[in-house]
């Protein structure tokens, strides 16, 4: 069985852009915005589950990055540093919307039992083709929304954005074992929840 490969490559000219932006070149910073605005928006929307909040996160994360460029020591990639800022902004907005709930990346909810597979029916060969694009997005959105914020944050960074385990740990200020533990549980919980939509139904069309 083949493995999952990350999809983000480090652009070689990034250091030049960062140095130029640090020196006050707004065009260089605009280039960095263009390079990563889609990623930041996707991460923010995954975490906040709210479109308006995601838009605010994009603006505030880039503004904060710009204002703090001088403090960026370049020990990590610019993107990892930016993600760290964006995740903090997104979690802050989530806390504002849900003051009744503690929202923290440190939360380690329940035991491993919550991730033990119960559904072991195989899926249809091309499960995403059982639904229209719109239906599929609704299913995927609804499903990931049900995960605790700490799980979906790790999942989106590792599996959607393609950060390495080390970069994810760095961006979230978590240990590598903590990232791996949350990632496993996020993956298994998503799999479990998607099974009801995607499992192979002999003689059926796969739809509910």
């Amino acid at each position: 069985m083949s493995t999952i490969q990350p999809r983000v490559a480090e652009p070689s000219d990034e250091t030049v852009l960062v140095h130029a932006a640090k020196a006050g070149d707004i065009n260089a910073f605009e280039e960095l915005v263009k390079r990563y605005d889609r990623n930041v928006f996707r991460i923010a929307q995954h975490i906040t589950q709210n479109r308006e909040d995601a838009e605010d996160v994009v603006q505030d994360a880039f503004l904060k990055a710009y204002q703090n460029l001088a403090n960026f020591q370049e020990q990590s990639k610019f993107y990892t540093w930016l993600v760290r800022i964006a995740v903090n902004e997104a979690l802050m907005r989530l806390r504002r919307r849900r003051p009744e709930r503690m929202v923290s990346l440190d939360e380690d909810i329940k035991t491993e039992e919550d991730s033990m597979p119960r559904e072991v029916a195989d899926w249809a060969p091309n499960p995403e083709q059982l639904y229209t694009q719109g239906e599929l997005k609704e299913i995927l959105g609804k499903t990931i929304q049900g995960l605790p914020p700490s799980f979906r944050t790790v999942f989106v960074l590792r599996d959607v954005e393609g950060l390495s385990t080390e970069e994810t740990a760095d961006a979230l200020d978590l240990s590598i074992p903590a990232v791996k533990s949350r990632l496993l549980r996020a993956r298994l919980q998503l799999r479990e929840r998607l099974s009801k939509y995607f499992k192979n139904r002999t003689g059926g069309d796969g739809k509910k």
Binding site: D37, R42, L63, Q67, A70, V120, P127, L184, L194, S195
Partner: protein, 95 residues
């Protein structure tokens, strides 16, 4: 290897982050354990479906609007210790 052992290694297995011997043991387990095979296969599909879903794409019109707003705010702000001072264009500087 038990199913529980397999599950603990699943993330590293899917990420290809393990030594050859452990990988061989996992693959041996997959040969005879149908449940673990299904869990492994459908977990991999879960990751691929999310990765390829284009969930929460940023529409171009919104993207342009956000970028304009970001750059406008940046021009009003100041980089902490920029080597070249950034000219302020408004009194709403946040730095």
């Amino acid at each position: 290897m038990t199913c529980s052992d397999f599950l603990k290694e699943l993330t590293d297995y899917l990420d290809g982050a393990m030594d050859a011997q452990t990988q061989a043991e996992l693959e041996d387990h997959l040969q005879w354990c149908h449940n673990c095979y299904v869990v492994c296969n459908t977990t991999k599909m879960t990751i691929e479906i999310y990765r390829d879903s284009h969930l929460y794409e940023l529409p171009e019109a919104l993207r342009d609007r956000l970028r304009t707003a970001i750059l406008s705010k940046c021009q009003s702000a100041k980089i902490g210790c920029a080597e070249t001072p950034v000219r302020r264009r408004s009194s709403r500087s946040k730095s």
